[in-house]
Amino acid sequence: MPALLSIKGMTHFFGGLKAVSNFSYDIPEGVIYGLIGPNGSGKTTTFNLITGIYSPTEGKVFFKDKDITRAKPYKIVQSGIARTFQNLRIFSSLTALDNIKIAKHFGSKSGLATSVLRLPSFMNEEKAIKKQSLELLDLMHLSHRAKESAKNLPYGELRRLEIARALATNPKLLLLDEPAAGMNPKEVEELMGLITRIRKEFSVTVFLIEHHMQVVMGICEYIKVIDFGETIAEGIPEAVAKDPRVLEAYLGKRGA
């Protein structure tokens, strides 16, 4: 099976710091793929390189066999890659519903004139956008927050709002940067259920960064472990968990 996302020999420097060193990934369609590693090991940078926030110093990124290495971020999103952020980036003074609607923006066909004149085609489209956005809020158990200004939502809900917003762009590949960070155990449990459900209902491939071992071991089918920008192990969760280098570099430090 061809990979949905394929990264070849990706290296990235921040000045003299090698944040990512010769990474290669082949993420097949439909999997939940986990990326773990200690703090500062280059995980978020990997996401930033995939989504076009940075261009890699070396290497290439292919999505659905197309080279997207130097494409603009919004084009990459429009081609089917959506993400969430480790340090939330919410449209905070807008309502939860509007946060989602914004992500439906590029799917909209109404031109400027049609929109300003509020022609029937525009009104129908607006209705559809609202309906789909409400459905996404509902899926993420956020219906009761639709009209609430996003800045009033608690942390765990904001994490789910970002996932809903990412889904609103109809992605084929969903990048989640530490989705369970700051959640309580009950919320983490609920999140794991949601991620597997999303994968099935939206037929998306999930690529996630996570520190919570419970999440990674619980839902990922394939895991890559990195440290100081280098890959130190990869494979199915059971194998990775036993890898001595992983135990030393990662679990050893944190799990002690």
Binding site: P73, V77, S93, M123
Partner: protein
């Protein structure tokens, strides 16, 4: 999902229009007050259009009056120098409207050019570039003899009146309001809220930042054209930095992002400004103190400081009056 609440807004404007017309024709209101109302309405256009750039899209333009200047000079040139129309010329009104629209388009084109720095610059830096732009525009007018140079473009026919200005202000409010309540407007709001996140939900932020400048400049150009045909002249000093700051104060006083706030503040501050002018002169005459019109800006600035201290979000915050809000369907 939302439907334009046009009838209510329209009814309000018609009542407002009729009331002013009746007051004026029965001589309960003099021409001077009507003139201030006309000016207020032009400032409504300026403030609401600047709000699209600064309030809705979150850019920081300090050169809004530069766009108005382009509209004023281009429309004034068409009506005065090219067609040489006056209100009794047959078809004059048609040429006037054409001149105003062309003035708006010319300003929009300049807005397109000035929108580019906004792609690379943020906050203070963008403010300085737009400020510089406004001054460049002013200097250009000052140096073109064809449009009067430092004397200004004089003898512009008086086509702007309460009716044309009211219609233009209403169109501006409705267009910008409807724009904000669409996918395009939401893209602009997203840029204000978090530019990177906007880009990463698929918003072409480059396109929308420039678009905000283009549309904002278009309406500023219309306002400039109406001004020129109201005051019957266009003068470089009308479009300088201080004037841009006055419009800026209006949107901050009214609430950044609120069309209602901009509208109310445009009226309130235009009247206040006139009142201060008269008041200061009266005080100077009565007491013999050597104070002049420049004290107006002192009071203005104090007022702004008070607003910022006690009502940081401005009069309306980001809220809209029922009249301007769009009604939800279903």
């Amino acid at each position: 999902m939302k439907k334009l609440n046009l009838p209510k807004l329209l009814i309000f404007v018609i009542v407002f229009y009729a009331a002013i017309q009746i007051l004026y024709s029965t001589e309960m209101m003099n021409g001077y007050i009507l003139h201030i109302i006309n000016q207020s309405l032009i400032y409504v256009i300026l403030a609401v259009s600047l709000n699209l750039i600064n309030g809705i899209t979150g850019q920081f333009s300090l050169g809004h009056m530069g766009f108005a200047g382009v509209g004023a000079y281009v429309s004034g040139t068409i009506s005065t120098l090219v067609f040489k129309i006056n209100p009794s010329t047959p078809g004059g009104m048609g040429i006037f409207i054409l001149a105003i629209v062309v003035g708006g388009l010319a300003a929009a084109f300049v807005g397109f050019l000035i929108g580019f720095p906004s792609l690379r610059l943020k906050g203070d830096y963008l403010a300085i570039v737009t400020l510089g732009f406004g001054e460049i525009i002013r200097t250009i007018f000052n140096n073109i003899d064809y449009v009067g140079g430092p004397r200004g473009l004089l003898g512009i026919p008086k086509f702007s009146n309460f009716t044309t200005i009211t219609v233009a202000a209403l169109i501006t409010i409705v267009v910008i309001r409807n724009l904000v309540e669409s996918s395009h407007g939401r893209a602009m709001l997203a840029i204000r809220e978090n530019e990177l996140a906007a880009e990463l939900v698929g918003v072409n932020t480059t396109h929308y930042k420039v678009l905000a400048f283009v549309i904002g400049a278009f309406f500023a150009g219309i306002a400039g054209g109406l001004f020129a045909h109201l005051l019957q002249m266009a003068h470089p000093t009308q479009f300088g930095f201080i004037k841009s700051v006055e419009v800026l104060i209006m949107i901050y006083a009214g609430g950044v992002g609120s069309i209602t706030g901009s509208t109310i503040a445009a009226f309130a501050l235009t009247f206040l400004s006139e009142g201060l002018r008269i008041g200061i002169r009266a005080i100077a005459d009565a007491t013999g103190l050597p104070i002049g019109g420049e004290w107006r800006m002192v009071v203005y600035s104090l007022l702004l400081i008070f607003i910022m201290l006690f009502k940081t979000e401005g009069l309306m915050g980001t809220k809209e009056a029922k009249l301007i809000r769009l009604k939800e369907v279903e």
